[in-house]
Point group: C2
Chain length 337, copies 2
């Protein structure tokens, strides 16, 4: 038989109201009382009915997370962090992937399943500001990524220009002067890709190093094969960089495979820096130096933004929320120690 | 203003019922009529209200997928396949990760959010049959993984013993005779791990090759670091295999990193076979030979099983649904071509 709130109250010798206060994490419970109730909960194996608690507040207990692609470990790791951050507030996460297609992103942002979710965390790739202007849905929305929309939705990003400059500065510091950028997309509104290209150019220019167009490698996407193709195309064109800054770790890993096949040694012949700090970069024959965004911070900020809207603490304001980043130096620029 | 079914009907010059039939993908519509209506839908940018369609059938339009870990690319890729398979039937996917903890798996399987989902696809690691016996929930359930439960729920698996034997046979065919198995868990009910160990032992025994205990490497988990630690422990104990069959690709990738650090060349000194065929294995300095389960088939079978229950086509029967596997041969056993 299912253990009830009443059973816990009797076992702990306290009122049902007190148990409810502990379960609902209200502030006005003494630590001693909290411990006593928790002990009874543990002993009886009581499971609070989360769904009922959310329903009492007129909520579903579900927030949605829309990412371009789960096959990209960055988004999978980010989704894991969001799921954990949401669970701390007893929310579960409805996951959708948009394939980075604008049509899918529009569908999601327009709230076609508004009735079943309390909030939406959207990581757009191709969405335009206009697509959000017509939004009829009143489900709270928070955007992951650069501010490209002058709209009243919070967005969470790292400083992509500064991050790219940090990566390029590290390569210059390792004595490199023909530093390629792999991951340009001329046909795309993708703002991070353009900002990282901008950071690459700014840092080189400031150091008095050439940033010619033939060191900019366009990609058709941001997966491993895209990086491999872009690297092969650059080498086939007779361009020989002594370093590569890649849009993300997957592009870097694809490029490193091609360098290996061509007999170019990383980092001695070509140093490589990625972006995202996915777990994969810590393995392989050459571990990957990378820009590491604070994924846990991004996840916590996103969930906190939705909760803020749900609690009615003022209208959404379109705040810019910044997450930190750091450069993690590994063998692809330092060599084997 | 939102485009309605009526707008589409007027634009196409057909009845609302006909448009509804096309949108709901009923069979009794001629291809010509379907094309005519689709053209009107495309021109007007009509979006069917999926939520309403599900609600009419007393459904939420949501199925849940619970996997141990999204940080493992196998489960992320599988989740992507399930999301696509569900989308074909206009279902969206609620994602949960259980961290492979029995407590979390019990919570999910007991249906603590039964009110918001139509079905549950659960990929258990540590769940026991008893945990499912007490299930009060009538939400359809399908299990991914080996039959370890004599219970009326469909389950979908590949033949793990046969798959392991195929991997080991390939290594024997490459002239190896000291073949280790990395990924044993003595403290765990995890059935695939035990079945793969069984397959390893059977194939070696049949070939008249020794299968001593010191060639079985226990792991604390199934991630890259677990594989690295298990490989290091075996080498530190003075055991020198000439091949490794790993529980999964992540364990194999961790082991390969340690082999590289110790100056042992893959495949010349030690050949390696993984399991799962995650995209990561196609890159790195040495691409990974692996057992490749048909993830798309697993996803399609799981969604079809839930739909079958939802349509009331008989009670769930606890069918065994098998997905195919194949061995993908790459550099970690063949060397560089």
């Amino acid at each position: 038989m299912r253990v009830s709130l009443k059973d816990v109250a009797e076992h702990a010798g306290v009122s049902i109201k007190t148990v409810s206060n502990v379960v609902n994490k209200y502030q006005h419970v003494t630590p001693a009382m909290r411990a006593r109730v928790q002990e009874a909960i543990d002993e009886l194996g009581y499971r609070p009915n989360l769904t009922a608690r959310h329903l009492r507040k007129g909520r579903t207990g579900i927030i949605a997370l829309a990412v371009p692609e789960l096959g990209n470990p960055y988004f999978a790791e980010l989704a894991g962090a969001v799921i954990d951050a949401a669970a701390e507030h007893d929310f579960t996460v409805l996951l959708d992937h948009t394939r980075g297609e604008r049509e899918q992103e529009v569908l999601v942002s327009q709230g076609f399943r508004a009735r079943v979710i309390d909030g939406l965390i959207l990581s757009p790739l191709e969405l335009e500001a206009d697509d959000l202007l017509g939004r009829e849905d009143d489900v709270p929305l928070v955007l992951l990524g650069e501010r490209q929309y002058d709209l009243p939705y919070d967005h969470i990003a790292i400083d992509n220009v500064a991050a790219a400059r940090t990566a390029v500065r590290h390569l210059i510091g390792r004595g490199r002067s023909r530093i390629a950028y792999l991951g340009a997309r001329t046909d795309s509104a993708n703002r991070p890709a353009n900002l990282r290209l901008q950071g690459w150019r700014e840092e080189l220019t400031q150091a008095g190093i050439a940033a010619p167009d033939n060191l900019v490698g366009p990609v058709g996407g941001w997966n491993r094969w895209d990086g491999a193709k872009a690297m092969a195309r650059m080498l086939d064109a007779g361009v020989r960089p002594d370093a590569v800054f890649a849009y993300n770790d997957l592009v870097a890993i694809g490029a490193m495979r091609v360098l290996h096949e061509r007999g170019l040694r990383v980092p001695w012949d070509v140093a490589v820096v990625g972006f995202d700090d996915i777990a994969e970069g810590q393995f392989g024959a050459v571990t990957l130096t990378t820009v590491s965004p604070d994924k846990q911070a991004i996840a916590r900020l996103a969930v906190a933004s939705l909760l803020r809207s749900l609690e009615g603490a003022g209208e959404p304001e379109g705040r810019e929320l910044a997450a930190e980043f750091r450069l993690v130096e590994r063998e692809s620029t330092l060599g084997r120690r």
